[in-house]
Symmetry: C2
Subunit: 326 residues, 2 copies
DNA sequence: TTGTACGCGTTATCAG
DNA sequence: CTGATAACGCGTACAA
């Protein structure tokens, strides 16, 4: 590989000038800049990442920890992050925690050694561990809020609120919320928001769970729904698909007998019969934004904001007014 | 961060000895080794990756390019690779090509600058480009074979052959194969194998496609199936799900009217009605093996083997003898 | 505007 | 078995 010294020689300048010509063009005479640039191009020069990292103290690597990749839910998030990383000349070091707090901690430690900072999607795991981690390394949380730590969250609670408004307007008064993992931060936000909103409107939200966010758990849940519930909201798409399946098997029709909606929107939800109302979570933006936030941190911005992204309901055929109201 | 020099001082030895004590313990007296180890632990020493990379010429990073993450098909592959990487103290630099050859090339170039080697899952893209790339950097292909380049492939052609045997034994004589993307290497292997096998057995394989490997394309395909086909094999799970849906909508029952099977096995295939026969592709092993192969390359093994992994049929309720034979 | 010289943290070479 | 010391390739004060 051609080194900076090679380029410098070829251009008839010193290493220092060559370096400046490429990194800080404004500090160098236009003619020499051109000469160096030409030499670099001709030799196919690429600055050695390790050497640069050694002097600058920056690796240009961003650690990204996600709970799983088996749920395509996270794909857009990763894509968004990757695109943002590309634009900032950085790379993504991706690791999968499998919803396992201990494993997640180990991965985070490992990644910290190589990465400038971390982005973590960590629905489970303790606040204090995250706080502690943030003190050592720049860290941006996704879909999770811990004190004033920098975070990017999709406001699914607000989205569900909006959705509940819609259901209330349609005449629903008894709504079931099938919740997700016990320690999910987002889930708690939602339950709180829904409960407040329902009681204000003289309606009732029946909470089922906590449950693992799986198809099978959805089938189980379909058997445990309260009799008077005319609409069901579920923590995620898998639970929702399970519910749809379970309801169908039990002879309860959607939306005639019961309305159904999900708090996230996997593409399959639009291909079921009926297509299922869901919250459109802007995951790609979230991923990109997390990278941006992280770079801000790395550049010394001390303002740690948490960005809220809107999660708007996408109304499909699975939600309709309850029986009495048609 | 504590540096090697700090450790050396704390242990009362030179940098050199400290380094040896940690990296090549056998070259050092047991007592000093202990002293150094203790000092390192106490100071929480972690070797600086950049510095190490600079001297050794190895970054410990492995580039992994996959076509997409939206298809959970690739999740186990990534997991397998990640676990293998962990065991060898290396990290995964993951990038998503989105089945886009040009984008893939750009990503590979970018990754090459940081990574010791590349693992590419590249169903599309030209042979010559891959050959050229291999000459510059260690490269392992997954699910794709190009000359003698190191590769890890799941033998889905053999698996389909086995499956076809089963169908033939059940009495099927006219079988449709719904094929995937036009330039898919694996797809071509399968068509060839199936055709040979069928004609040898006096049966016929009707090829549909090429098609995009999507749910919607599966629905389309269900309308274009030859009337005499009593069994349908499909390129992947999405096409299969589409076919199942389309057949159902057209009033054709699986497996009573037509048998159905997929050449890969997404978990949803076991949750449909009926559950669908599929090829169990050992993706996790493939991912792990790719990492192992790459490390061999990096360690100078010049033997470039291509590993074939067995893809065995998992028989489920979607395949049964054709009408006449029951 | 350009060049010299040093430091980043580690591993490897070569004496001792 | 251990200790100096020289790389590795780059960025950047500092000097010219």
């Amino acid at each position: 590989m051609a080194t900076l010294l090679d380029v410098a020689r070829a251009a008839g300048v010193s290493k220092a000038t060559a370096s400046r010509a490429l990194q800080r063009p404004e500090l160098v005479a236009e003619t020499t800049r051109l000469r160096v640039q030409e030499a670099a191009d001709r030799l196919g020069f690429h600055p050695n990442a390790a050497a640069r990292a050694l002097t600058t103290g920056r690796t240009g690597l961003i650690g990204l920890i996600v709970p799983t990749l088996s749920n395509p839910f996270f794909a857009p998030l990763v894509m968004g992050a990757q695109q943002a990383a590309e634009e900032t000349e950085s790379h993504l070091l991706i690791a999968v925690s499998e919803y396992h707090a201990q494993r997640e901690a180990a991965l985070a430690d490992r990644l910290s050694e190589q990465a400038d900072g971390l982005i973590m999607v960590t629905p489970v795991g303790t606040d204090t561990a995250l706080r502690e981690r943030f003190r050592r390394r720049p860290l941006v949380l996704v879909d999770r809020q811990v004190g004033r730590l920098p975070a990017v969250v999709a406001d699914t609670a607000a989205g569900l609120t909006e959705l509940l408004d819609h259901l209330l307007a349609q005449g629903h008064r008894d709504i079931a919320y099938v919740s997700g993992p016990a320690d999910s931060w987002a889930d708690e936000q939602r339950r709180t928001a829904l409960a407040a909103q329902a009681s204000a409107a003289g309606a009732r939200v029946h909470v089922l769970g906590p449950l693992p966010p799986t198809f099978d758990a959805g089938i189980e849940a379909s058997r445990a729904l309260p009799d008077d519930a005319t609409a069901v909201l579920a923590y995620n798409s898998y639970l929702t698909l399970g519910l749809l399946h379970g309801l169908g098997a039990a002879g309860r029709r959607v939306p005639e007998d019961v309305s159904l909606a999900a708090a996230d929107d996997l593409s399959t939800l639009s291909a079921t019969t009926p297509p299922v109302t869901a919250l459109d979570v802007p995951l790609q933006e979230a991923g990109a934004l997390a990278v941006t936030r992280l770079h801000e941190l790395l550049d010394g911005h001390r303002r740690t904001v948490t960005s809220r992204l809107p999660a708007a309901p996408v109304l499909r055929a699975s939600t309709a007014p309850p029986r009495g109201r048609r």
